[in-house]
């Protein structure tokens, strides 16, 4: 247990004016860049690190935390207002956020995203602060077999999103995994499907694929659909009900179980290196839909859909720091950047960090809580600003969004080639939408594909072809059983729904 004096001294460090100022700047910058497709919080952190050289360690890391947390909130803005998620994890938010915004309730949708994001983030921060050490030990027990079982569970939960055609859902998932096989194979490092383009030797850039299929494809459709009418990017009725522009306590409280489920999924997946917020957001969304009394309302502007997605993807952020601070293992690219910031300032993350730098760590925890509060305040103002921006004519919004995607993807994937890939996948996304194949399933499979293949090959090597050896991995066994139960429940529910739709 740390001494109380160290905890209090750390928290006092966090509440200095300089620290408050830089955390606030980080949150503002994060919310701004998070709203720009392609740039996102990770890119913003990478750019911001050199600017933190001259700052104190706590101020520097607090600033980067602010950027990361602000980016999580900012990422939901284009997803909700324009149906153009800038990051794959925000795609789940767009499923219900955009329909709600289209119904003239953009502020309600963005505020629900903000509240859910801050709720998830704060919960995972509390978990980090209180029980990070035992969770890290548990996370360490997650070897390849357990990770494979977890990915299988993730696929089974997400299967609930497949829609009305199982064949189309499976084809979309197979195509996503096929796209993920481009580049070097994880076991032998031999090239696959690179067609002489050495730029894709490391695989197709996630930013290009995700933004192309999710954002550009949607912009293309809406640009082509506009038929010369100069309407606003988003319509808000001037005489609308004021209740449509806010989230009431009753509405928030009604989502409490969805929020709790989302934060638990996000925290659990965040504590494991490499699974990421995209899987968490979609697992939470699929879970909320399956648990709902009215699953048909999902995809049509259900607040639970926004709450599920945002609470889960934001909860990943705090939990990502659990293996980082306790073991020195970064759980994500964002966490790896935080490690680099620590190391630039001469601090080595790892098991001795709490012992040697206790005051700094509790200062960091204080900065994280401050960032959450500031996220809420800045978000309330920022959401209104973005809604005003998106209320400009579509003829200016969409070309600008396209150019921003060009710039963002170029920065994220290293140049023109990344933009070309983005355009190719935009066309693919457009065609898939037209033929009724789920782009979202494609993206999830693309994201989880390499992890599945890698952990599958490691698992086969570990089990030596003997499936009964799975009994020696109790966590994996439980996860596989859970996956089976999930599939059974989805199947039972869809049969019931099908029976309900039959004419009497």
């Amino acid at each position: 247990m740390p001494e109380l004096s160290i905890v209090l001294a750390g928290l006092a460090d966090a509440f200095t004016l300089t620290n408050l100022f830089f955390v606030a700047m980080g949150v503002i910058l994060g919310q701004f860049v998070g709203a720009v497709p392609g740039i996102g919080p990770v890119m913003a952190m990478a750019i911001a690190i050199p600017f933190t050289f001259g700052l104190d360690t706590l101020v520097a890391v607090g600033f980067l935390m602010g950027v990361n947390k602000g980016g999580l909130v900012g990422g939901a803005i284009p997803a909700i207002l324009m149906n153009t998620p800038g990051t794959p994890d925000a795609a789940a938010t767009a499923l219900d956020g955009y329909p709600l915004a289209k119904r003239g309730k953009p502020l309600k949708a963005t505020k629900m995203a903000l509240f859910s994001s801050v709720t998830g983030d704060t919960f995972s921060d509390i978990v980090l602060i209180t029980v990070s050490a035992p969770l890290a030990v548990l996370a360490l027990r997650m070897g390849p077999v357990e990770v494979l079982a977890l990915i299988i569970l993730a696929f089974c939960v997400i299967a609930g999103l497949v829609g009305n055609s199982l064949s189309k859902g499976i084809i979309a998932a197979a195509l996503g995994m096929l796209a993920a096989t481009v580049g070097t194979d994880p076991q032998h490092a031999t090239p696959r499907f690179y067609f002489g383009f050495f730029e894709i030797y490391d695989g197709l850039p996630l930013a290009s694929v995700a933004i192309g299929m999710l954002a550009i494809a949607e912009i293309l459709r809406r640009m082509a659909d506009n038929a010369g009418l100069m309407k606003a990017g988003i319509e808000i009725a001037p005489d609308g009900d004021p209740a449509d522009q806010r989230v009431t306590w009753a509405e928030y409280w009604a989502c409490r179980y969805t929020l709790l489920r989302g934060t638990l999924i996000g925290t659990a997946l965040g504590a494991l290196p490499g699974i990421g917020s995209t899987a968490a957001a979609f697992m939470s969304y699929a879970g909320a839909r399956q648990a709902s009394q009215d699953p048909d309302s999902f995809g049509k502007g259900n607040l639970h859909g926004i709450a599920a997605s945002e609470s889960a993807n934001s909860a990943v952020m705090g939990a990502n720091l659990i293996p980082l601070l306790t073991l020195g293992i970064p759980g994500s690219v964002g966490a790896a950047l935080i490690i680099s910031a620590f190391m630039i300032h001469g601090i080595q993350p790892g098991p001795l960090l709490f012992e040697k730098q206790g005051q700094l760590i509790y200062g960091l925890f204080g900065a994280m809580i401050i960032a959450n509060v500031l996220n809420l305040i800045v978000g309330q103002i920022g959401m209104r600003f973005w809604i005003k921006v998106v209320s400009a004519p579509e003829s200016i919004i969409f070309p600008t969004a396209l150019l921003l995607c060009f710039v963002g993807v170029s920065l994220a994937s290293g140049g023109i080639f990344g933009i070309a890939i983005m355009l190719i996948f935009a066309v693919l996304g457009y065609v898939m939408n037209a033929f009724g194949f789920s782009v979202v399933i494609f993206i999830i499979a693309f994201f989880l594909g390499p992890r599945l293949e890698e952990s599958l090959s490691q698992t086969l090597a570990l089990l030596n072809g003997d499936v009964t050896a799975l009994m020696h991995y109790p966590i994996a066994f439980v996860l596989i059983v859970l996956a089976g139960v999930t599939l059974f429940m989805i199947n039972r529910k869809s049969r019931r729904e099908a029976r309900g739709k039959l004419p009497s």
Partner: protein
Amino acid sequence: MTNPTDRLSGLFFVLFGMILFFYLIPTQVETVEYGAIRPKTMPQILAVIIGIFGAMLMIKPADGSDLQKMPWIKSTLIVGILAAGLWLISHFGFEIIVAPLALILMLVMGERRPLWIGIGVIGMPALIWFAVTLLLQRPLP
């Protein structure tokens, strides 16, 4: 009710799965004869899955595709403009091409008001340049 679109897309995926299995994988994946999973194992599994479920889609088509509703001609035109714009950016740079590209896209969308065209063609590219080059100190494409 039968859905010819789904039957056709099912047929496409059957053919795609076969081309993938018999042509693309043998020519585009290096052969390795050791390891629990070989480089071609996963693509082969996926090719089989795509083929089988493509066939299932042909036999049992789903209802619901937006094929008829999609504005294909205008979308193709916009993709063509973007591809040409990208090619020009790679030769002349983003700063030079961005304004005419934004102008063409706005005109295609039907915008004719000088003020909005001015904002879109001069204001927004200037803002992007300011944010990326000056504020973030990163190069434009």
